[in-house]
């Protein structure tokens, strides 16, 4: 029974890049459990493999060896199309650089993942407005990304990540490009989503202040996960 409470189970995962004669080991026998409903911070020096690990959890990247279950699925066994569908339903991904589509308004950016669902236009609108009001942007719906501040852009990106109501939010240095005030706003939102909506949050960060929002902080060092 205790197994089902783990939303992420990483088992002995290694990742090695081979370049000519050189081998670069990015992750080395990483084993990690993350409880459903947890807020985990992942820290470590640049190049330690944080993004690589996060991408594997999102079924974006594949390991050289090891196994992983995320939200009950054996993610490494998914093919391209299955992985895409699975991400749409299970994962909300937040980037350091926001990655909004520049030609789409805030509303349309948030609506984008819903275009892949069976929801009607009016249902989509309802979901989008709910997501945007959860990040405090209900009044900015028809602005283009370039008409928004960095903090607002990141809030739109969070709304986009949560609009399909996934269990798991993955954030790769979500405050890395933001000023202190906006960073705090974003962290507060993530904390609220974790506490009030029960989302599991895994956040990569360099910033100890950001990490203080998490229940647990894990450290990666040269591809190895340091013990708690």
């Amino acid at each position: 029974m205790s197994e089902t409470r783990n939303i992420v189970e990483v088992r002995d995962v290694s990742k090695v890049y081979k370049r000519d004669a050189f081998e670069v080991t990015v992750l080395e026998h990483v084993t990690l459990d993350i409880l459903s409903g947890e807020f985990v911070a992942l820290m470590g020096p640049s190049g330690s493999g944080k993004t690589t690990l996060l991408n594997m959890i999102a079924a974006i990247d594949h390991p050289t060896s090891g196994e992983m279950r995320v939200n009950g699925s054996n993610v490494f066994a998914l093919d391209d199309a299955e992985a895409a569908r699975w991400r749409n339903e299970n994962i909300g991904y937040i980037f350091q650089t926001f990655n909004l589509i520049p030609v789409l308004t805030a509303f349309e950016n948030v609506e984008l993942p819903l275009l892949l669902t069976r929801l009607s236009a009016s249902e989509r609108k309802e979901h989008v407005m709910t997501a945007l009001s959860m990040v405090g942007l209900g009044d900015r719906v028809h602005h283009l990304p370039k008409q928004l501040s960095g903090g607002q852009e990141q809030r739109v990106a969070i709304a986009r990540a949560l609009v399909t109501d996934p269990n798991l939010l993955l954030a790769d240095e979500p405050t890395g490009d933001l000023d202190t005030k906006s960073a705090t706003d974003v962290l507060e939102i993530l904390k609220r989503l974790n506490e009030e909506s029960g989302k599991t949050v895994i956040m990569v960060t360099h910033d100890p202040h950001a990490a203080s929002y998490a229940h647990v902080t894990r450290h990666l060092e040269k591809g190895e996960l340091l013990p708690l």
Binding site: N55, A58, I60, D61, D80, A81, A84, R85, R87, N88, E89, I91, Y93, F95, N99, I101, P102, V103, L104, F107, E108, E111, L112, P113, L115, L116, R160, T164
Partner: protein, 380 residues
């Protein structure tokens, strides 16, 4: 929002580039449309059923050599020949030498003429009036409309080949299936005024019993005069007209060359634009995939974007070109057949879509199978 709105917004991302691409496609498809309608008019149209049954006999050496008029009665004896009239090019000018005032004038035998041109509808009273008046003429409706001519009106043609300035009265207006902008008057009028023109028609127009008889009749006519002082060349009306056109050079190769080159050049330009546009969005592709977009959807988004651009650009060329063909076609004569049809329109739009598809398919495919991790690392 829908995926098609997303495609539209993406296409308008770089407005100047999109507009320039669309302009390029517009120009090339406009040209292609013109070329295709010329091709169709010259080479594909077989004309009316009656036209397919008509053959023209001319001097084997050239159109400027005349034929003896007694050939007419000899031709009549060939089986499969229904009617035969002499038909001579007068080549006069009306008012002045401006090209807009140019139209074809033939002198012929008014009595038998309706049997050779049965599809040219004319009021029986007007026909009889023309046949009775040696200084009478008939013109087709397009010509009458152009000059505002009415039945009973007098007009004067100026001499060119034959030393006479015919003063003619319009006795009737006929209605051919396609504007011909042609005037017919009497052989007698020219022969009475010009003694050397007597018994020397330029060509004979022959109506055959059936389209199948055409080959046999043509062969029989040419065989009949093979060893005569004036050997003949007999061919279908369509081939005869094409002979005129080919005097301009190898029109077929010219049209194919221009059409092909234009489409190919546009393809290259469009392919380059699409490759750039897609490369710029490498990172965006990775983000779409993370959001759950599948390969095929991404491929369809990009290809759809390119096709949309090319079809809209194409329409901006095809529509003005259609208008131009309508103007050219109304000039009549050789040009009457140069017309847009729904079929040609569909082909032109299809070519535009094809250009979009081909120019986008390779970069779109590459983008669609890009690994997300590589896409995310892409700078730019």
């Amino acid at each position: 929002m829908t995926l098609s709105l997303f495609i539209t917004k993406s296409a308008l991302r770089n407005k100047r580039r999109t507009l320039l691409t669309m302009l390029g496609v517009a120009v090339s498809l406009g040209l292609l449309t013109l070329m295709m309608s010329v091709w169709k008019g010259f080479y594909l149209d077989t004309g009316s059923a009656e036209s397919a049954q008509r053959v023209i006999t001319r001097h084997k050496v050239s159109l400027t050599n005349f034929l003896p008029s007694y050939y007419r009665e000899r031709i009549r004896t060939i089986t499969g020949v229904v009617a035969v009239v002499p038909n001579s090019w007068f080549g006069g000018t009306y008012k002045d030498d401006k090209s807009g005032n140019f139209f074809a004038q033939f002198f012929t035998d008014a009595v038998e003429w309706p049997k050779v041109y049965p599809e040219y509808r004319i009021d029986p009273d007007e026909l009889r009036a023309w046949q009775r008046d040696r200084a009478g003429a008939i013109v087709d409706d397009a010509l009458a409309t152009q000059y505002g001519w009415k039945v009973g009106q007098k007009i004067i043609l100026k001499r060119n080949i034959y030393p006479v300035d015919p003063e003619l009265t319009i006795r009737g207006i006929y209605h051919p299936p396609e504007a011909s902008k042609t005037m017919y008057f009497h052989t007698e009028y020219v022969e009475e005024a010009v003694s050397w023109a007597k018994g020397q028609p330029g060509t004979f127009s022959i109506m055959c019993a059936s389209p199948e008889a055409v080959t046999q009749v043509s062969q029989a006519v040419d065989d009949m005069f093979k060893n005569a002082p004036a050997p003949t060349k007999t061919e279908s009306e369509k081939a005869f007209t094409l002979g005129f056109i080919n005097m301009l050079g190898n029109v077929k190769v010219f049209i194919l060359g221009i059409g092909g080159a234009v489409v190919f050049a546009t393809l290259l330009v469009s392919a380059n634009t699409m490759a750039m546009a897609i490369r710029e969005r490498t990172r965006e592709v990775a983000v779409l995939k993370i959001l759950g977009f599948q390969r095929f959807t991404i491929l369809a988004l990009f290809v759809g974007e390119a096709m949309l651009q090319c079809i809209i650009g194409g329409l901006f060329g095809i529509l003005p070109a259609t208008l131009m063909t309508a103007i050219v076609s109304s000039m009549g004569g050789f040009f009457a057949g140069i017309k847009m049809t729904p079929g040609l329109f569909a082909v032109a739009v299809g070519v535009a879509a094809f250009i979009g598809f081909i120019s986008a398919i390779v970069p779109s495919y590459n983008a669609s199978k890009l690994a997300i991790v590589d896409g995310l690392r892409h700078i730019g």
